[in-house]
């Protein structure tokens, strides 16, 4: 298929190949050329050989000296009057990072070997390969006295904003402003026991015997509920699919979610599992049933940490309700009956000596710095594809609204509301990539963006992913408008899992990107979750994959967003805001892109990025039969 003049411009440096037969003597125009997007497949299958092919910018306006068939690459033998190529700059630009590790300008889409850094007052320029390189440095830039002053590379002209000017002039910066604060008081629990009443006695949590019957009675659809207390010694226990992992936390006094004081129990998490009356898993697909120690990727933001005690409920719901909306919700609500009773006991604690640790979170606005928003796409297709937004208690049920009922429209929350459990996730399928309730409680991107002094995180937008395409575009346009009104300089878009949610994920990129705002997307992609759609605004992507082979490996939370992904995304967005282009991805998933980028970031910032382990660190199930109960 022939291309338009606009496409030809975009692909100026790509090979020129005829799209259809062309006669001798014609002047080559864009309409004579084939779309370079399809070349990779043709080259792979041996149908096309691009050796010696001229570029599109070279052949446009030139004369064809020989009649050629379709899919014939244009070489200098058949073309007359070639336009001289413009200077190639890609891959040869110099990147400068400063002594304090701020503003590292990296090409994070792929590897770039040439980089420059100023560390400890020494200017280092390393050029792996290249020619015709001009380096111009103002003489003062290399002096130590100036090394702490940040300058924005000339390339950022396109996105120059008043705030960028302010970055150049530290005196013009306005002071940081703390909007609100949140205090987390940690109470250490070392043992969980059953007893006559639910209470916390020093470091022992007692759960009332017989509470199960009340949980069952509280929900019409729940027919049975069993509580298992899983200690680290019992990790090798069979469990039904893990539907959710939740922190046990409550607000102190009259504090509202996202502000004031939150009390949280350390060393213990709630875990929801269940089946229907016929033994069919709730959230039937992509199940993580099996031995707990082989199915949990420990210490992921959404997963339990190794060493924690699980209060695991096994809920039985009415037959056939496992795939209907009220089913999973009932299982969650019945479990929350227990959590709520623990919350009441936690609220009643008066002995401050039991507080093992105090954590302070401040929502700081940094006027003058680049303003950023995080858009988090959550599932809203129905049944287990749902989330409860803004409960009264952290990760509670009461007071929350399901985002499906809200029509999946975008909802703005403060970063501290996210960290205070404003999302009670009914967590859909795909155990490796789903974001559990606990994930939001420890959301790495929110935390990193909040602490990054170079940017001004203005808030978080949650947007649901509806089932029908028309609704997807409806909500996506609202996201675009909302972001436009925020006047941000950059945006992150995250999504969990893969499937039709990538359609709105792409649309969010378009809606924000078309407003001239740089966007960085985070999703599990790799092999199995490869994006189903794309558009020209989806140039900056961070893959959350950690699994060895790039697939949904059925290990809980393995492929979810971790600190290492947040750091890569932050660097990528800063680059995008500075006008740096991110290199195109390779045709097939290549895990080396990530490792090279991580290495580059570590080199420039001087801080190593620690990578989390993947499923290979878990026990393998070779002698499963012998262990089988």
């Amino acid at each position: 298929m022939s291309i338009s003049a606009e496409t030809a411009k975009e692909h100026a440096k790509d090979p020129a190949v005829l799209c259809c037969r062309a006669e001798e003597g014609i002047t080559i125009q864009a309409s004579n050329l084939e779309d370079p997007a399809i070349f990779d497949d043709l080259v792979d299958s041996g149908l096309l050989d691009l050796t010696g092919a001229l570029t599109i910018e070279q052949v446009l306006g030139a004369k064809l000296t020989k009649t050629c068939d379709s899919l014939c690459p244009l070489t200098s033998d058949v073309v007359e009057g070639i336009t001289a190529p413009t200077e190639k700059k890609d891959g040869k630009q110099q990147n400068v990072a400063y002594a304090d590790g701020t503003d590292p300008i990296l090409r994070t889409g792929s590897v770039q070997k040439d980089w420059t850094s100023v560390q400890g007052g020494v200017l280092k320029i390393h050029i792996g390969e290249g020619k015709d390189i001009d380096i111009e440095l103002p003489v003062t830039a290399a002096t130590p006295a100036e090394s702490s002053v940040q300058t924005v590379p000339a390339a950022c002209g396109a996105v120059q904003t008043p705030s960028a000017d302010k970055i150049q002039d530290p005196e013009a910066e306005t002071e940081e402003k703390t909007v609100r604060s949140l205090t987390r008081k940690h109470y250490r629990i070392k043992e969980v026991k059953r007893g006559p009443e639910t209470k916390i006695d020093k470091d022992v949590l007692y759960i009332r015997e017989g509470i199960e019957a009340e949980c069952v009675a509280s929900q019409e659809l729940v027919h049975d509920l069993k509580i298992d207390i899983i200690t680290p010694e019992e990790y090798h226990t069979y469990s039904e699919t893990i539907m959710d992992v939740q922190p046990v936390a409550c607000k102190e006094g009259d504090c509202e979610l996202g502000t004031g004081v939150t009390r949280v129990l350390d060393g213990v998490v709630m875990m929801v599992t269940g089946t229907d009356d016929n033994g069919v898993q709730i959230g039937e697909f992509g199940s993580s049933e099996g031995y707990l120690d082989e199915n949990i990727m420990w210490n992921r933001p959404g997963a339990p940490d190794k060493g924690e005690i699980f209060i695991k409920t096994q809920v039985t719901i009415e037959a056939g309700m496992n795939m209907e909306r009220p089913g999973p919700l009932a299982a969650h609500a019945a479990t929350d009956y227990i959590t709520q009773e623990i919350r009441e006991a936690l609220k009643a604690l008066e002995d401050d000596s039991l507080v093992a640790d105090i954590e302070e979170f401040h929502q700081v606005r940094r006027p003058g710095k680049k303003k950023i928003v995080i858009v988090k796409e959550i599932m809203g297709q129905g049944a287990m594809h749902d989330n409860l937004i803004l409960p009264v208690e952290p990760v509670g049920v009461l007071g929350a609204k399901p985002n499906v009922d809200l029509g999946n429209v975008p909802v703005c929350v403060s970063p501290l509301e996210v960290l205070d459990g404003c999302i009670h996730a009914l967590t859909c399928i795909g155990p490796a990539s789903k974001e559990m309730s606990r994930h939001y409680w420890r959301e790495p991107l929110v935390l990193e963006a909040l602490y990054d002094k170079e940017i001004d995180l203005c808030g978080v937008i949650f947007v649901g992913s509806p089932q029908i395409n028309a609704e997807k575009f409806y909500v996506s346009k609202r996201v675009g408008m909302m972001v436009e009104m925020m006047d941000v300089d950059g945006a992150f878009i995250t999504t969990e899992g893969f499937g039709n949610n990538h359609i709105d994920f792409a649309s969010h990129h378009e809606q924000i990107g078309m407003r001239g705002i740089p966007v960085v997307g985070l999703s599990f992609c790799a092999v199995q979750g490869a994006l189903v759609v794309g558009n020209k605004y989806m140039t900056n992507m961070v893959d959350n994959n950690k699994s060895e082979s790039g697939i949904e490996n059925e290990v809980l939370a393995c492929n979810t967003l971790c600190t290492e992904d947040a750091l890569r995304a932050l660097v990528m967005l800063k680059n995008a805001m500075a006008g740096e282009e991110v290199k195109k991805p390779e045709k097939k998933w290549n895990p080396n892109v990530k490792s090279s980028n991580v290495e580059l970031i570590s080199n420039v910032t001087g801080k190593p990025v620690e990578l989390v382990k993947n499923e290979q660190s878990l026990p393998m199930s070779k002698k499963r039969k012998e262990k089988y109960d």
Partner: protein, 101 residues
């Protein structure tokens, strides 16, 4: 875990058609035309342009299913055994409950 084996027939893409026969809030059931099987997929794996109705025809590209190796994965065997056992226990329990009622 099975070592990743390259598919031998992975590029033999065939257009498959089917009919939506079950609609739940979290998933749909699809009969493959020509009695070639049944597919149950979660909602997010279905791309929906119109409101869903039983009887709507759907299509997708797929290839043949190939074995990855001769070994049975003990993990899945064990899970399956447990699953069958649990289902049997629950059936018995349901029957008992029915008799008592």
């Amino acid at each position: 875990m099975t070592d990743r084996k390259e598919l031998q027939y992975g590029d033999k893409m065939i257009r498959m058609e089917g009919v939506i026969v079950e609609i739940h809030e979290g998933c749909v059931g699809i009969d493959l035309k020509g009695r070639l099987g049944f597919l149950k997929i979660p909602m997010r794996m279905l791309i929906t342009e119109y409101p869903l109705k039983v009887g709507q025809e759907v299509a997708w590209n797929m290839s043949f299913v190939e074995q990855l190796g001769p070994k049975a994965n003990e993990k899945y065997v064990s899970n399956l055994d447990t699953y069958i056992r649990h289902r049997k226990e629950m059936e018995e329990k349901n029957e008992e409950g029915g008799r008592q009622r």
